[in-house]
Amino acid sequence: MGAIYKRELKAYFISPVGYVFMGVFLVLSGVAFAASTLYASTSSTSAYFTYLLFSFIVLIPLLTMRLLSEERKLRTDQLLLTSPVSLHAVVLAKFFAAFTLFVLTLGLSCLNFLTVLPYGALNGALIFSQLCGIVLIGGAFCAIGLFLSAITENQLVSAVLSIGTIFALLGVGLITPNVQNNTLRAVLKWISIFDRYYTFGYGLFDFVSVFYYLSIAVIFLFLTVRVMEKRRWA
């Protein structure tokens, strides 16, 4: 598992994908931060993190689109699957490689906060809670993207599917307040990634939400393993 994880992380920086991801992430977060705090003359970071969440629509698929689709296209999956490594290990290694790069970049983007310090204090605890929420959501999205890269051998298809799915999961949160039907609204609220994030936004460490995001990640990792297993039986 370690070998695959290491190779995958390295691969991000052999191809331009890793640099593009980090560059775009940092530029977008910088612009979002400037607009939401410096220009708005506030030290509240909630708007900033909301912007950041929506940038994941394009950023996370960039990380995950290649992971398994490329292996299948180049037939290198044949090497992985005939080596003494379990499918779970392959999938987890891929997931953690993407997740690591995501967390690292998010960590780097925290430098943004320093720019506010000369003008006033930041609420460290609140930011920490918001960061936790972002990390959890990012993990869930990485798992979804990984799953969608397992079902096709075309990177582009995988990317478009991921963009659509993440967009839908986030976008649902914007329309739920306007849905009249109670049942439908409850269902949409349940799906909505964004609705669960509010608690983190208020600085609450809500275990139900933590569990929710973790389950999404686990379920999609599990589905990824199943998809690959099923292909073997096809």
Binding site: A3, I4, A11, L79, S83, V85, R232, W233
Partner: protein
């Protein structure tokens, strides 16, 4: 040791592998021969655990590939039909990766150097695989299979895409490896299995059509049914002579190659080897034989023969 027990693989309603059983003994080199689409690759993929069989069992050194995949896979070095290479890595990086992936416990540096030497990669170790020719890529694939020194080697068309000199090298390599490894290799080139294998298993449409030691196979193929000759002399007279010769079914005159010298193709009646008699007879008649070549049976010919013989035996 490799054991395949009544392996069946269906893709939808197409049966790719149909009740295939065989054993490859320790230190044996078994050749898998068959035309394209005969089920060779599918069978190899099942033995290595890449695919699962619809029914039947694959055993590697007595270990079920499906039940204890990691234990079984540890013992196999596999080169698939398309060498599974990460094109953006250098040869060294790739082999390092495979080393770690397989969890090999040998001393890394000397082992990698040894494998590179065996596969003839020492002078391209630091080159990016993307920039290597097809032949070199194939060698990287072979090197990958050798890493960790597995007891069992499974090669799916190992010499495809190599130039003739490399083909000879790889065949020699495989033959040498066969001394202390169990080797299973697939090919659709008859001369290849003849050159390398102890035993030949012929697959056609997913079924085993023949399973014979190489010697027997060679005998089947060696009574040539078609000869190519280059004979000096008047073409009309030579042709008349050939057609009158005992055992000749058909003779055709081909292109003129030199002054008063033509190429001929002669079909021989099945089961007869007339080469010597024909040579002396032509010489006695005053026609100089400048070249004679037995056009070996192609795999297709062997198949036709096998299928024909099979029917004959049943009838």
């Amino acid at each position: 040791m490799i054991e395949a027990k009544r392996i069946v693989k269906r893709f939808g309603d197409k049966t790719a592998v149909d009740d295939v059983s065989f054993t490859v003994g320790e230190g044996e080199i078994l050749g898998f021969l068959g035309p394209n689409g005969a089920g060779k690759s599918t069978t190899l993929n099942i033995l290595t655990g890449y695919l699962s069989a619809s029914s039947g069992q694959a055993l590697i050194e007595g270990i079920d590939v499906l039940e204890h995949p990691n234990e079984a896979k540890k013992r196999i070095g596999f080169l698939p039909e398309y060498a599974p290479l990460y094109l953006d890595m250098t040869v060294r990086e790739y082999l390092n990766f495979v080393f770690e992936l397989k969890g090999a416990t040998l001393a890394r540096k000397p082992h990698l150097s040894e494998v590179c030497g065996l596969a003839g990669l020492s002078d391209v170790e630091n080159r990016v695989i993307r920039n290597l020719s097809k032949g070199y890529r194939q060698r990287v694939g072979i090197a990958g299979a050798l890493i960790g020194n597995p007891k069992i080697l499974i090669f799916d068309e190992p010499t495809i895409g190599l130039d003739p000199r490399q083909i000879v090298e790889i065949r020699n390599l495989i033959r040498n490896l066969g001394r202390d490894h169990t080797v299973l290799l697939s090919t659709h080139i008859l001369s290849e299995v003849q050159a390398v294998c102890d035993r030949i298993l012929v697959l056609n449409r997913g079924k085993v059509v023949a399973d014979k030691p190489t010697g027997e196979f060679v005998r089947m193929a060696s009574a040539p049914e078609r000869l190519s000759l280059r004979i000096e002399g008047d073409s009309e007279r030579v042709l008349r002579f050939l057609r009158a010769f005992e055992g000749v079914r058909k003779a055709v005159c081909g292109a003129q190659t030199e002054e008063n010298c033509f190429d001929y193709t002669v079909d021989v009646k099945a089961g007869q080897d007339i080469r010597k008699d024909l040579f002396f007879a032509l010489a006695n008649a005053g026609f100089a034989v400048l070249a004679m070549e037995a056009l070996g049976m192609s795999v297709e010919d062997i198949f036709i023969k096998l299928v024909r013989d099979g029917k004959g035996a049943q009838a």
